[in-house]
């Protein structure tokens, strides 16, 4: 069946280092991918998205890369800060009006000072 999954359940980095969070997906019919950040006790917060006709998109300190050939998505966070500590989810957004999100398990990012 369709699924979105993450390679690493936990990631620990030093403050100031770059972080890379990876995600694999299996539904090639989707056209849109989103990264969400979830801090403890809060709802998912939108970080960045990318359409399937793009390979790369940059935001403020974050970059999302999409490799459709191997169905792989990654989130790069530059100069990771303690405030970046959270669980990061990739989600696949189905085509069409409904836009249901299919979520991966999540990667917990811990930033060490």
């Amino acid at each position: 069946g369709e699924s979105v999954g993450l390679h690493l359940p936990t990631l620990s980095v030093q403050e100031g280092d770059n972080s890379i969070i990876n995600c694999a997906y299996s539904n090639s019919a989707s056209d849109y991918f989103i990264w969400y950040k979830q801090e403890s006790g809060k709802g998912p917060q939108f970080i960045i998205d990318i359409r399937s006709n793009m390979d790369k998109r940059q935001g403020q300190r974050v970059t999302v890369l999409l490799n459709k050939t191997v169905k792989h998505l990654s989130l790069q966070i530059a100069a990771t800060q303690p405030g970046d500590s959270a669980v990061y989810f990739c989600a696949e957004n189905t085509a069409g009006n409904n836009r249901k999100l299919i979520w991966g398990l999540g990667t917990s990012l811990a930033v060490n000072p």
Binding site: P44, N97, N98, R99, L101
Partner: protein, 117 residues
């Protein structure tokens, strides 16, 4: 910045009781969603709602669940007879759907934690 608000933030109920979780989506949004997250697990889609009707629902969303938009601002999730396994964080989300940049981005509320005893 506009936000999705949910109440209550935490509800404890006895098994078999009815529960209503409330959400106020962003005012100009057209599409509404409920997701749930059991502790330590991934977020799961429950239902989507558009134009005053359910557009899609998951296997989780059985006859015990219902949604309603009673007054044009609130969007509610009702669980008719709660079970232990309904204990989870329930997230409401909405999106604009058209016409503006970011129309397909879902904005989530902070969630309502449901504990069924």
């Amino acid at each position: 910045e506009p936000e999705v608000t949910q109440t209550p933030s935490h509800q404890v109920t006895q098994m078999g009781q009815e529960v209503i979780l409330r959400c106020v989506p962003i005012s100009n949004h057209l599409y509404f969603y409920w997701y749930r997250q059991i502790l330590g697990q991934k977020v799961e889609f429950l239902v989507s709602f558009y134009n005053n009707e359910i557009s899609e629902k998951s296997e989780i969303f059985d006859d015990q669940f219902s949604v309603e938009r009673p007054d044009g601002s609130n969007f509610t999730l009702k669980i008719r007879s709660t079970k232990l396994e309904d204990s989870a964080m329930y997230f409401c989300a909405s999106r604009a759907g058209q016409g503006i940049s970011g129309a397909n981005v879902l904005t989530f509320g902070a969630g309502s934690r449901l504990t069924v005893l």
